[in-house]
Amino acid sequence: MRISRLPLALAAVIAIALAALVFTHVTLRGDLSELLPHGRDPTTRLVDQELRTGTAASLLLIGIEGAPAGTLASVSTLFADRLAHDPDLLFVQNGHRLISEGALQALFADRYLLAPMAADAFTAAALHADFLRLRDGLQSSASPLVQQYGLPDPTGALPAVLASWGGGGGHAVLRDGVWFAPDTPGPHRSRALLLARLAASGTDLPAQAASLHRLRALFDAIPDRHGARLLVTGAPVFAVAAEAAVRRDVRLLSIVSALLVAGWLTWRFRSPWVLAAIATSVAPGLAVAALAVQLAFGFVHGITLGFGMTMLGITVDYPVLLIGHRKQGEPPAATIRRIARPFTLSVLTASLGLSGMAGSGFPGVAQLGLFAVTGILASAAVTRWLLPGLIGRAGLAPSYAGDPGRLEGIESLRRWRMYAAVVPLLALLGIGLAGGPRLQSDLAALTPVPPALIALDGELRTQLGGPDIGQLGLVRAATPDGVLQAQEAIAAGLQALVQHRAITGFDDAATLLPSQAIQHARQHALPDDAALRAAIDRAAAGLGFTPHAFDQFTADVARARTQPALSARDLPAGLLRTRLDALLFERDGAWFGPAIPQGVTDAAALERLFAGRPGWSFIDIRRTTEAVVRGYTRQAWPYIAAGAVLAVLALSAGQRDPGRTLRVLAAIAATLLVTLAALVLSGTRLTLIHLVSLQFVAGIGLDYALFFARPQLDAEERARTLRTLLTCNVMALLTFSLLCLCRTPLLREIGGTVCIGVVLAMAFGFLFAGERPPYAGRLRDTDSPA
């Protein structure tokens, strides 16, 4: 047959074009939360939804530092002003004019309904003390303010309202009219602080990324910054950083691994056309896999893709196994005949093994499973039915098939395999001594967000008093007032916890807006006109006030007695309403209100407080997510195990020779045991991801073992197999060691696990799956290096 490479070249171009077409059309996402399962009970779902879409998912903590305090203050003012005009932000606050003049007037007008007042506040004795204080104030430099806010409000209702609303800003101090972090020593160590909330919800990562980009550009456009730097943290920053890290990793992986594999194969086969053959087989696999995931899930996750790319580690093997086993000039059908059985078996068992993942119900795992199974089947089909003809026409075969002479020495190593069997037993012992594998269900440990950013976030959160929501009580009621009443009912319990130092404080809607009942009670407690005037007259006697000094006070009290009770709508818009909206909200017709404790030191006491109170549930967010992950992990196990059982059944049926099946299984079992031992003994806490990686290792190990285990081979074929499998092994090692360099811990963990695994798979496959050399003498007779 005349050699023609045109069909192969055409096939490669079509395959790559097809893959390119698919990859430009799938929806790629990098948000790690997409990989996690959603909660099942309503409370977990609500918390889940709030975490993804609520205030916490769009709040930004901002610091400005690196310049003298004066510069920072003016930069903060300019920046806040520009952000206030940016439609990307719902609000921005830098400590300046926390409460607008209008909002202050509104709070002042409603002070007697909003403020808690002592029972004796309006008695002559209490008023007398207040009046003395007012007189001092009027004699001081602050007299204009005392005239305006003090005289109409001798009992201090407005300060009480403001105290319950809090200044916001946590430990921030006001300097030059804006928030600053408490000073740290050293020059230029001042830090101005801001708080902002993005309009884009936590579910719209691209929009959040664009908003963050614009926010940084707005900062950079501020003139005369004198080296002031912008620090931004918060959930949106984390999500965007994680996504960017995943994307960067995937891009790096796909480019570098492709280059490495291409280089290695070109050197190994001395022909660039082998690459065309591999592209012809691998590209359709990736395309079909991506398409299948897109159709099933509506998007392809970056992690799936990153891992999928390294699936090259398995599917690239197929064309390499085919070409590597072809003798020079041999009809492709003959090569297929020799390797068809282990090849088909390996594809089948690997797909069956991975199919358990696809059905696991854990979104991330299911995606990976589906991607792997469809990719493997598609590549294998192309390799089995399309590629043989093409490589035959192109005349592709190894230029050097391996040296059967050196084979004897290598294969004689198998004499020691009974000793090598000690290694997996030791591994088992090691795992047992270490107390078995420890599971990790806190997926936060796998975040690709740099630790420095997480540390900065913690710092800014403390300085700004932003809630780091870990545990909370959540009450559900039919009406907003029902929520407020339930919160008022539990307030005393929370106060007691504060006194016992189980928590340092708490934040809830009822502190900001009292229930209707409380408001009515406060109105009822206000004295009538005559009583108040009488009390004032007695209290003011001899203090030197003019007769009409307290006219506005009496008028305001009279008005408060009859004004309608306030609801959330009556409160002034702006920062105050934003805070209340986060603490009192409606979802699906029911009203919810969290009570968010701060500085929790005794979570158990907190849990006891909420337990058993009607309408309340206690939520430990970390525990909830962990429980959800654990639940899904538990659910995934049987599926994955079922996949493995199916694979073993298929293997036994396909092999027919129980002894050989046993050898293959021994090789895989040894590989998995030692890999697991390596992970356990290095202190790695196992996640579902490690399990998935071990499945891949099993798949690759199966490949190797099956090819080593083929019966009755001559030395030349055995040498060819050894050499081809070594080629595959180096390829897998190259791609998976790249994963170890990733910034995404998820991918790094996969890389480390698989790297250890493939080396062991090669070693144990060679030692256990192959036959012991009984024909050492014969080998020398047929010795004929290719």
Binding site: H96, Q139, S140, S143, Q147, L151, D176, G544
Partner: protein, 189 residues
């Protein structure tokens, strides 16, 4: 008839403008004199009439100013109190209590009062004119500057203010607030 009236008007206008030129020149001189002192320290006595108190409030202490924007009013009697206006903030401290600091930006009223005091001490006509129409009576040796609010915001705070002095010294500041409260500060270097 008409021509004579126009002529009269023109003469009056000229006179008026000459008078205002003269006043402006003197005002400029006064301001220069004030601006010539980089810092000052003086004793002050204050008499305040507050509408809600039957009797006037009397106090005294020391007043010090340092260019460009640091003003301290240290009251010693009847009750010790220290008021510092510095840059964009004002803080009030009384013994035994934490000092309270406010941003001038937060309150137009405070801003205007601070600008009135510091603008006078600094001889900073531009700052004064931001809130007031400034008029001068008298000569360079013995002068009186009258401040009338030039806008709505200023009018809500101050009804009228008089600053009396001689040469580069301020002798007395009278402020009548919009709510009718009056304060007179007498300064003796």
């Amino acid at each position: 008839m008409t021509e004579r009236r126009i002529l009269l008007a023109a003469i009056l206008l000229c006179l008026g403008s000459r008078a205002s030129h003269a006043s402006d020149a003197i005002l400029g001189q006064i301001m220069q004199g004030l601006a010539g002192q980089p810092s000052r320290q003086a004793h002050f006595g204050m008499e305040k009439h507050v509408s809600s108190l039957a009797a006037p409030v009397l106090s005294q202490g020391t007043l010090s100013y340092r260019k460009p924007d640091h003003l301290e009013q240290d009251t010693t009697a009847p009750r010790p109190e220290r008021l510092v206006i510095d840059g964009g903030t004002v803080s009030i401290a009384t013994p035994g209590q934490p000092s309270r600091t406010l941003s001038l930006d937060d309150s137009p009223a405070l801003q205007i009062l601070a600008d009135t005091l510091r603008g006078t001490m600094a001889g900073d006509l531009a700052t004064l004119r931001r809130h007031f129409s400034v008029e001068e009576n008298g000569g360079v040796d013995r002068w009186r500057i009258v401040l009338r609010p030039a806008g709505n915001v200023a009018a809500q705070v101050v009804r009228i203010a008089y600053v009396d002095g001689g040469g580069g010294d301020v002798r007395q500041i009278d402020i009548v607030q919009a709510n009718g409260d009056e304060q007179r500060m007498t300064i003796t270097p």
